[in-house]
């Protein structure tokens, strides 16, 4: 028996030493990486764009983890996540070997995998995370490479311009404690501006005007339902799904398809945003009276059956929209076109048009987004050449995205990081209109390294997709022959029209778009409370008064503490 215990013990110890052994290996790597951060293997003669697009003399292996789309069918037979047109391009042009350590389906599965890799402390060289808290957790655990210097050296002029177009907000977003620890994602400003999407063909059928205010919307939605324009089960206003939210927040400040952001804006309410009160104090937008009033309005609409009865439980915001059951929804510029492709396929006359929603005193109020919400993080254990390779991969994508054969989804580009000039869509809207009217020619946009990287490609195809007359674009002006082109141009020319052509009366920015220290432990709980309260009030499952209790609980359970921290940020 003693012998047995001894054996058992030795097995335990073996297991222990296994873990101990591997973790000590890690820490020695840490030391190595941080003690000689910059051992360049190539001639230092290059600089600027030459350096930003330089080819490595010897192949450099870059290990990555990446999110993939399980339904994507665009990879040709025989290609794979680690061998496709994009990886071959990187190999040929820059001698970069991409090795995919792991993949997971976009969404929760991917988040889970990222959490596990962070928990294990063994990050792949690079991965793109879609939540800032992942970046900050990895950074605070000392897992990330400080790329401050290398980025300055290796950024291409295009990347530099795009970064500059955000007035330093992108850099701040990508940094932790003053050090740049990730490549930021920079998306167009209009991603954060939510507008009203409405079936203009239904309005025309009923000879109704385009609704401007919340009360107009109410009447219109009622008319749609009463006249059964979407069949027996017509939905007046589609809403968020079980995975999306009634409004975007300071942490997820853009692309909220199916949210009610414009309604809140029209009521001068900005829930989920940290508001500067102008007197040195800060308040959390959800707690305001205007938010409460808007919730009362939405609850009233839900009760009257104007809002999708299945709001908050559907798998996908787009389902009722694509099935052409719904006549109204809210979302950013690309929601019509990119966002509801099946709607056009099911009904080619579905004339979705985008408009602002105005307050009763005729103002367009909109909350504005942060620069971007994904982060390319690089492991502290990555060799300097690998870090350079990742920076070059980013430069290359920004420069060459428009030249790729996009029949293979660009999502397959390893460590794909979207970097677009903040006003790219507005620029394209204005210039494409000029091309259509013959004021400019596509060749005028053939400028290499342009800040507006997709402009030339779009200019070349715009006339194939859009037919005259150009003054009042409807779905009938568009050809759906190449559906991908149709979706992009529809989104730009219809979806971005309000933001490009109509000035916003009141732009609201959040005091911060990042988590404060206390939020790291307490925010999840507060957010959960907020989501529940808000949805339940809208669905009539909780009385409006529960809002007051929520405000009290929110403050007591760390909200006050966090508000103080945000106030400190404002003082800086």
């Amino acid at each position: 028996m003693k012998r047995n215990m001894a054996m058992l013990l030795s097995v335990v110890l073996l297991g222990l030493s296994l873990t101990a052994c591997s973790s000590s290996k890690d820490s020695s790597n840490d030391l190595k990486a941080s003690s000689n951060p910059d051992t360049s293997s190539e001639a230092p003669a290059l600089s600027g764009d030459d350096l930003a697009f330089s080819k490595f003399p010897k192949p450099v292996d870059v290990h990555i983890g990446m999110a993939v789309d399980p339904t994507d069918k665009t990879l040709p037979e025989g290609d794979s996540v680690s061998n496709n047109q994009y990886t071959r391009y990187l190999k040929e042009k820059y001698n970069i070997n991409v090795i995919v350590d792991w993949t997971a389906a976009t969404g929760n599965d991917f988040k889970q995998k990222v959490s596990l890799t962070i928990a294990s402390g063994k990050l792949p060289d690079g991965m793109v995370v879609d939540d800032r808290s992942f970046m900050t957790k990895a950074a605070s655990s000392g897992l990330l490479y400080d790329i401050t210097d290398l980025f300055q050296q290796y950024q291409s002029s295009q990347v530099k311009d795009i970064m500059a177009s955000t007035d330093g907000r992108a850099m701040e977003n990508a940094s932790y404690k003053g050090k740049m620890v990730s490549l930021p994602n920079i998306t167009v400003d209009t991603d954060g501006v939510h507008v009203l999407w409405i079936r203009k063909d239904w309005l025309d059928k009923l000879q109704l005007p385009v609704p401007k205010t919340t009360s107009d919307i109410e009447k219109t939605a009622k008319a749609f339902i009463d006249n059964k324009l979407g069949g027996d089960k017509t939905i007046g206003i589609a809403g968020p799904s079980k995975n999306s939210f009634p409004y975007s927040t300071f942490l997820l400040s853009s692309n909220n398809m199916g949210g009610f952001d414009p309604i809140f804006g029209a009521m001068d309410a900005y829930p989920g945003y940290w508001l500067d009160n102008g007197d040195g104090s800060v308040s959390y937008g959800t707690l305001t009276d205007n938010t409460k009033k808007t919730l009362a309005l939405l609850a009233d609409w839900y009760k009257k059956g104007l809002i999708d009865p299945e709001v908050g439980t559907r798998d996908n915001v787009g389902d009722p929209i694509n099935a052409n059951q719904a006549g109204i929804f809210f979302g950013p510029w690309w929601n019509g076109g990119y966002g509801n492709g099946d709607s056009f396929k099911n009904d080619p006359t579905a004339n979705w048009q985008a408009y602002p929603v105005y307050s009763d005193d005729n103002k367009w109020n909109a909350h504005m987004k942060t620069t971007g919400s994904t982060y390319t993080i690089i492991s502290k254990n990555a060799k300097p050449d690998v870090v350079k390779a990742i920076l070059i991969m980013n430069n290359a994508l920004v420069r060459d995205e428009a030249t790729f054969d996009l029949s293979v989804a660009v999502g397959w580009y390893p460590l794909r990081n979207v970097m677009a000039a903040a006003n790219e869509t507005e620029y394209e809207y204005a210039e494409l209109l000029k091309v259509l009217k013959g004021e400019t020619q596509p060749e005028d946009y053939n400028k290499p390294n342009s800040l507006y990287k997709l402009m030339y490609a779009d200019a070349k195809k715009v006339k194939d997709v859009i037919k005259a007359p150009y003054d009042d674009l409807n779905v009938s002006n568009f050809s759906t022959a190449n559906f991908g082109d149709f979706q992009r141009l529809y989104s730009i020319m219809i979806g971005d029209r309000p933001f490009t052509t109509i000035p916003i009366d009141k732009k609201v920015y959040s005091v911060t778009y990042n988590q404060t220290p206390t939020m790291e432990t307490k925010w999840a709980n507060l957010k959960k409370m907020e989501d529940e309260t808000v949805l339940k009030i809208i669905l009539g499952q909780a009385p409006l008064d529960s809002f007051d209790k929520f405000v009290k609980d929110w403050k007591a359970q760390g909200g006050d503490e966090i508000t103080k921290e945000v106030t400190e940020l404002l003082k800086k």
């Binding site: 299945e310 439980t313 999840a524």
Partner: protein, 296 residues
């Protein structure tokens, strides 16, 4: 002694299983120390900062922990009770059937849902209880307004318990049916001659034959009062029903894998393990004392 000479072989037989337990169960158990640390992935288990009971204190400060423990308890106990009673009633009803072929058919088919995973069952449950699903269609015939079952925190627990019982009742009835095959038919005849009607037959003959089994199963499921069923909840819930549907296991999962609060998640997991261990121990004693049944 020859008998003791066998011991060597007994150890040898236990060896593969014990090696597995050490490698895959005991070694990872050292991770429990995380519950007493502020775990920092960069530093690892050995160098993370020790914080004593701070994670547990914080856990019980959170409103969530109370909600979650309560939900877990209610859902699990509901499942235990109804998973005892419904199969019991079903077994009795089945026992009363005259047609053997029909009996066989029912028996075979009702096992079926047990064999389908919650991944699959969730798609079906969501479909059936959807706004235009069959349940709303049926209650619509009686003039009831359609309801959003999956979003209604007020009935989500009942839904969880109900669908679980529905999935498992046929399977759980096996043990009762087995016990009923052991009943001497003469007992029924004797009682019938005494003029007992059907209800009295059930009460006097069928039920007593099942009492021991029911009591025993009840005691043995004591260890499950904190197992509310991760797979089911994970695949069915949504934020609207967190207040009633969120359970310890899903909470731990979200803390650890979505909010990156590794230490807090481990603390909550440990809490669950300790309580379950105590309960299993109690049920072991109870079963031994009152049913003279040695569980293990």
């Amino acid at each position: 002694m020859r008998k003791l000479g066998h011991q060597k072989h007994y150890y040898l037989m236990l060896l593969p299983g014990m090696v597995w337990l050490v490698m895959f169960s005991i070694v990872p158990m050292f991770g429990i120390v995380m519950a007493f640390q502020n775990y920092n992935p960069g530093a690892g288990l050995f160098k993370s900062e020790w914080v004593g009971w701070a994670n547990f204190k914080y856990m019980f400060q959170l409103n969530d922990s109370k909600t979650v423990i309560l939900n877990t308890f209610i859902i699990a106990v509901g499942k235990i009770v109804f998973n005892l009673l419904v199969p019991l009633i079903f077994a009795i009803l089945l026992n009363e059937l005259r047609s053997l072929r029909y009996k066989k058919l029912v028996q075979t088919v009702v096992y079926l849902p047990h064999f389908l995973s919650w991944v699959i069952m969730s798609t079906i449950v969501i479909g059936i209880f959807g706004y235009y699903g069959v349940v709303n269609t049926v209650i619509g015939m009686f003039g009831v307004d359609p309801k959003l079952f999956m979003a209604d925190a007020g009935i989500f627990r009942q839904l969880l318990i109900g669908t679980d019982v529905w999935k498992e009742f046929g399977y759980n009835a096996i043990i009762y049916l087995a016990a009923l095959t052991g009943v001497n038919p003469n007992l029924y005849e004797a009682a019938a001659i005494d003029g007992a009607n059907r209800w009295q037959l059930i009460r006097r003959v069928t039920l007593p034959a099942l009492t021991t089994t029911v009591v025993l199963l009840g005691v043995l499921s004591l260890g499950n009062v904190l197992n509310a069923g991760f797979d089911q909840v994970y695949n069915l819930y949504n934020p609207l029903v967190y207040s009633t549907g969120d359970i310890l296991d899903t909470w731990v999962y979200r803390l650890g894998l979505q909010n990156l609060q590794f230490s807090l998640a481990t603390a909550a997991g440990l809490f669950k393990s300790v309580i379950s261990f105590v309960l299993i121990f109690i049920s072991y004693r109870l079963a031994y004392r009152y049913a003279d049944y040695t569980v293990f």
